[in-house]
């Protein structure tokens, strides 16, 4: 056992260098004033107060949460019936369908988004609508696959038992299939909402210059404005939102399991 633990040392080192250290640096940048030198480190919260006091930034935050929420809801609305449909196919057909679903995921997201840009160019749509379409397209497979996995591993005998006990199809779905697929729904929501709220390539390519989400704001502050301190503060705020939503979904998951 001990020797196995030793095998994880390189991994821990890896985490320390590539995950923990950058996080610490973001934290230090976010809590200090401009001037990249650590020698003149000055502790301040002004990056955060600036963000929360400014109506523009708050609106960007709100827009990001709104579009991520809408994307998640829509993915769930399309994804659930699709997953249910796939789970009811024969074994071979299921493998085929899952393969077809994952196939586009092998293509670089940038390429797919550029393709959408070409398609949407011909339609006179609001920026937000374009970004919404792009996000739903991109994240839908994650939702379907998660829910499908949950439904597929469900014991089929349960359905037979339910019918034997006199429940009709709808009641069986509501009382058996749906509750058992909740873990899949929850991980699906996590896998869609988190990348959607932090997405920046899709709004950048599909939304046009006046559609700014929080991910784009971070990019603007790091690459255009060259203000790493404020950029780090926004990154940290976004990280907190992500952690909060993960905590929420996990809590949901747990209370569901208890019930």
């Amino acid at each position: 056992m001990k020797s196995f633990f030793r095998m994880s040392y390189p991994y821990i080192l890896w985490i320390a260098i590539f995950i923990v250290a950058p996080m610490v640096m973001i934290l230090l940048y976010a809590l200090s004033r401009t001037g990249n030198s650590t020698l003149t480190f000055q502790f301040t919260l002004e990056n955060f107060t600036k963000f929360f006091r400014d109506a523009t930034f708050m609106r960007v935050l709100f827009t990001s949460l709104r579009i991520a929420f809408l994307t998640t809801v829509f993915c769930l609305l399309i994804g659930y019936p699709a997953a249910l449909f796939i789970a009811n196919l024969s074994e071979r057909a299921q493998t085929m369908m899952v393969l077809l679903l994952t196939l586009p995921m092998w293509i670089n997201m940038l390429l797919k988004t550029y393709a959408w840009r070409g398609i949407l160019l011909n339609f006179d749509l609001e920026s937000e609508m374009k970004v919404f379409i792009g996000m739903v397209y991109d994240f839908l497979p994650y939702m379907i696959i998660q829910i499908h996995t949950a439904i597929a591993k469900m014991d089929r005998e349960l359905l037979t038992a339910s019918y034997d006990l006199g429940a009709n199809k709808w009641k069986t779905f509501r009382r058996v299939t749906l509750p058992l697929s909740v873990p899949g729904i929850i991980s699906g929501i996590t896998l869609v909402f988190l990348p959607a709220v932090s997405s920046f390539v899709i709004p950048k390519l599909l939304g046009g210059g006046d559609y700014v989400l929080i991910g784009n704001l971070i990019e603007i502050y790091f690459l255009q404005a060259g203000d790493w301190n404020f950029g780090s503060a926004i990154s940290l705020i976004m990280a907190l939102i992500i952690i909060a939503s993960m905590w929420l979904t996990r809590k949901l998951d747990r209370s569901e399991q208890e019930a």
Partner: protein, 349 residues
């Protein structure tokens, strides 16, 4: 056994990218996207028996960030104000003039500029101004010349306008329209320029775009757009209805120049590359391909002269020596301030 073979094969596949490392005769060039005739690189590789590792950036700031993060390049092609900053921070090394000995043919307007007064560190690569590309069937050229930048406030062009999505260029337009210097640090002037841009946003509801403006204007999708002269030259050569105007209020003249970073691993080859690119035939290929103005007088004359690729193309040759035209200076505080205001303009605050 089968498993072992597949594992070995996988290992080979994964380690494939490592093979190209450790090659001494490699030149790392970092340039703007769509800014060269690829044949120039291939020819250089053949002539010197080396390999050129050619990477692309899309903004000076992106290049600078990459450089700060420790990446090593041999030749960079930043713009004037960025060279000013790199020099301030001792990040460049002087050119070896015994190798780069062909600078006599450079156009006067782009040599010995304030960021590098005697071209010790930099050789101009291409240069440009900023102007308005417009559809001459929709906007009368006389009106365009008369109104200059203030045409962006004319509600008549509501929904028919592209604005370049860059705080630097947009604020340049506003500063010049108001008669200020585009390097101003005066907070009242900055505020006035911000108000000017907000007014523009309300009057013409421009689409804020970057490089997609090139194809869109070549297809005549909108009536006017703020563009770099080199892109304007391309648009004009693709669509004969389009005209180009560099407003009398003054504009930005920008020079992109080749420099060698202090930490270059192959400075000798870098000098050879700079010399090679500055040769007449290569400069001609590059300028002809991308539409931006060449730094060589002979090339400028060839391309804009009779029978040249850009004969009669108003956008190709930027005007030089006009007193209201200016170059940008490196000013990080100002840039930060403008970026923030620019977000607010775009989000219609």
């Amino acid at each position: 056994m089968k498993k072992l073979i597949s594992v070995l094969l996988l290992l080979c596949l994964v380690s494939l990218p490592l093979i190209s490392l450790g090659d001494a005769n490699v030149l790392n060039v970092y340039n703007w996207g769509e800014y060269i005739d690829k044949a120039v690189i291939t020819n250089f590789e053949k002539e010197y028996g080396v390999r050129v590792n050619y990477s692309l950036f899309s903004s000076n700031e992106e290049m600078y960030t990459k450089l700060l993060s420790g990446a090593s390049y041999d030749v960079l092609v930043p713009s004037d104000y960025m060279i000013e900053r790199l020099l301030k921070e001792n990040m460049l090394q002087p050119l070896d003039k015994s190798i780069v000995n062909n600078l006599d043919g450079l156009y006067e307007g782009v040599t010995n500029l304030s960021y590098d007064p005697d071209n010790t560190y930099s050789v101009p690569y291409l240069w440009q101004s900023v102007g308005i590309v417009y559809d001459t069937t929709k906007i009368d050229p006389a009106k365009m010349e008369e109104k200059g930048w203030s045409i962006f406030l004319d509600p008549e062009y509501d929904g028919h306008t592209y604005m370049y999505d860059s705080e630097r260029d947009a604020f340049m337009v506003a500063f010049k329209a108001l008669g200020y210097s585009m390097n101003t640090e005066n907070s009242e002037e900055i505020q006035a320029a911000y108000e000017w841009l907000r007014q523009m946003d309300k009057a013409v509801h421009p689409a804020y775009v970057t490089d997609e403006v090139i194809d869109s204007m070549a297809n005549g999708e909108k009536w006017m757009a703020l563009v770099y002269s080199g892109d304007g030259a391309y648009i004009l050569s693709e669509n004969e209805d389009m005209g180009f105007c560099a407003p009398q209020d003054g504009t930005n003249i920008a020079v992109d120049a080749m420099v060698i970073p202090a930490n270059a691993s192959n400075p000798e080859l870098a000098n050879r590359f700079i010399e090679y690119v500055t040769r007449y035939e290569n400069a001609l290929m590059i300028s002809s391909e991308v539409g931006y103005a060449s730094p060589l007088t002979a090339v400028l004359e060839e391309l804009s002269g009779e029978g040249g690729d850009y004969e009669g193309n108003d956008a190709y040759m930027p005007r030089a020596g006009y007193e209201k035209d200016e170059m940008f200076h490196d000013n990080e505080t100002l840039k930060k301030q403008l970026s923030e205001l620019w977000i607010k303009v775009k989000l219609h605050e």
